[in-house]
Symmetry: C2
Subunit: 372 residues, 2 copies
């Protein structure tokens, strides 16, 4: 799969050849600035952090690449590569930045080791829900702040899709008080793990493909990966009995597309617009796919005897307090994070007020009356 | 603003003129099937049911038309017309079906007088929330059913945007029991009004622009239009003291784009794809715009002394019972509605189960801890 970087130039040459031979009328018609950009042939490689088995992610990125191809009559091709086919799943950002690939599908918070600012693109504990995340990004200044940050990292940032609210995790024993976290070995990456450790837990970094075995062997006591859709696929219900909710660590979990900055800047304006609109469509596909996948998997898991447990209020309160303390500490050490966090927190508070008199009481009422 | 219906044909002619004069190489380059469709110049008129003053709707449709223009390098133009500029706001569907205009932005439930099936595209009382509506449409078979229904009506149906959860309405007096609906004259259109009348209320059909005066003069006792964003703009808080929630009649309220079916069928495949992707982007813009607009307006309304009241559980229960009875009756009289309603109800139940262990407990917890 060649990366035809010369596509744009070729098109200009072709247009000149046609123009020279064509009638004066035809030349006038095709020499407008609008056509000047032409329909260059471009072929990009997309490396993904998400294997095909994460069906919601794959459905979203498939819609994205298909739409780009459709809208350009096949001129602009973006080919998906699973993690490991070009680079490892967590090297997607670096490979895009360096130009090894032009584009990737990944999750910003995989890179919090480089800067905690990356977390805002995916999830902070007790963070924004899926729609609030988009509203913060697109209407409340979030996107400008994150794009400015990421341009400095050498990539153009396009928010893309969400797994939506996840599970709090799968546990081999019940959690009745915050003290039950003491010594608990749990697969929980990133900031969620930092918060757990403040309550005496022992967070483990384990690649998604190895979590099942670790849980089966008992080398960990608990694990969180995603929600019913992905977790059922991973088989966690066969080795851990208790499914806890709500997923405080990922109220929503945004993924994204990064484009190598120079490659993005080189795109004609209409191709940029095509990529952005295709991303909006792919995002809706990913969100809807996760939603239905979770709805259906939940019913199967319940039928299979999984025990669903809600964290007691006392447990959530302890996690919340630990999360706030951790994020305050991060703020003290990183001014860029602190500035965005202040703004984000204010938005979360105001958005929560609106949802508390709109979506949430409606949803809660309908859940009550439709429960069988 | 000419409606260049001949745009596609013109482009073909031009291409032939160029092809005939150009070199053999150039001809080969432009004679591939991919380019064969070309970039025809098309100019459509979009009639909207929503004036510019409904800012969220206008923001969404503006993003949609801009994206279509951008992605086609200005070749495919869609121009917005406010209600009354070509046809009245509620004639959008008929004008599109008849071909007076090619496309419109409207709300399906404006047309429940033609068939109750239209309601599924916007809202049923105690219905799906915004994300669930999309999941039902795009993943659970809803869109296929509604598109098949609408193709028979002579239009191609593209779901487009949502106002999200609305207010239950503005009341001049408190509602403490369902008996307080007796004799209440309320502006509440469509199915919501039918449900209110079953509890002794007197629903009034009043055009959006006239609601303020009716409420001010006291010729009605209550009114629902939208949420804080639009309602503040209409000035309801100056003439009614109590804002009630949750908006049971419109848990979400989807709008849509209809395209004249023959015009849709005539579009080249890549233009169809461009319209669909632009609609996804416009939808996200509309939803985000409503979200932030509601968040900000709510704070201003609270500062202005508006009294926010939650309907007592007994009142919601009575409304729910009346709604179910009404929809069962509609089902008995309309087999097409009945088939979709059965499927929709099953989806609502299953989706509510998932949200009850995911989004809702997270949202409710965060609302509690961030309340000042």
């Amino acid at each position: 799969m060649g990366v035809k970087q010369s596509g744009i130039g070729k098109s200009v040459t072709r247009r000149k050849a046609i123009g020279a031979a064509a009638s004066a009328t035809a030349v006038a018609a095709i020499a407008t600035p609008a056509i000047a950009q032409g329909q260059p042939e471009i072929s990009w490689r997309l490396t993904s952090s998400f294997p095909r088995s994460l069906k919601g992610c794959f459905a979203g990125v498939t819609r994205f690449t298909q739409r780009v191809a459709e809208m350009t009559d096949g001129k602009f091709k973006i080919q998906y590569f699973a993690p490991g086919e070009i680079v490892g799943g967590l090297q997607a950002l670096d490979a895009t930045r360096s130009g090894s690939v032009e584009i990737c599908h990944t999750a910003p918070y995989f890179y919090v080791g480089q800067s905690p600012v990356y977390a805002f693109g995916t999830a902070l504990p007790f963070g924004l829900n899926t729609r609030q995340q988009n509203t913060w990004l697109y209407k409340a200044g979030g996107l400008d702040k994150l794009q400015a940050f990421k341009a400095k990292q050498g990539v153009f940032y396009i928010p893309f899709g969400n797994t939506c609210s996840q599970a709090a995790g799968w546990f081999r024993k019940e959690i009745n008080t915050a003290a039950d976290f003491q010594g608990l070995r749990m697969r929980i990456p990133g900031i969620g793990g930092q918060v757990l450790s403040r309550l005496g837990g022992v967070p483990q970094q384990i690649a998604p493909g190895d979590v099942y075995q670790a849980l089966e062997r008992g080398s960990i006591d608990a694990a969180e990966l995603s929600g019913p859709y992905d977790d059922e696929n991973a088989g966690f219900h066969r080795v851990a009995k208790f499914y806890y909710y709500p997923g405080w660590q990922e109220v929503s979990a945004g993924t994204c597309i990064y484009v190598n900055k120079a490659k993005w800047d080189d795109l004609p304006a209409h191709y940029k617009s095509i990529v952005l609109a295709a991303a909006a469509d792919g995002e809706r596909e990913m969100i809807s796919d996760y939603d239905l996948g979770n709805i259906e998997a939940l019913r199967r898991l319940a039928a299979a005897g999984v025990q669903f447990r809600r964290f007691p209020a006392e447990v959530l309160d302890a996690l919340y307090k630990a999360a706030e303390a951790y994020l305050d500490e991060v703020s003290k050490n990183n001014a860029e994070f602190a500035a965005i966090y202040k703004d984000w927190s204010e938005f979360r508070k105001n958005a929560s007020l609106w949802y508390s008199i709109a979506e949430t009481p409606n949803d809660a009422f309908i859940q009550r009356v439709t429960r069988s």
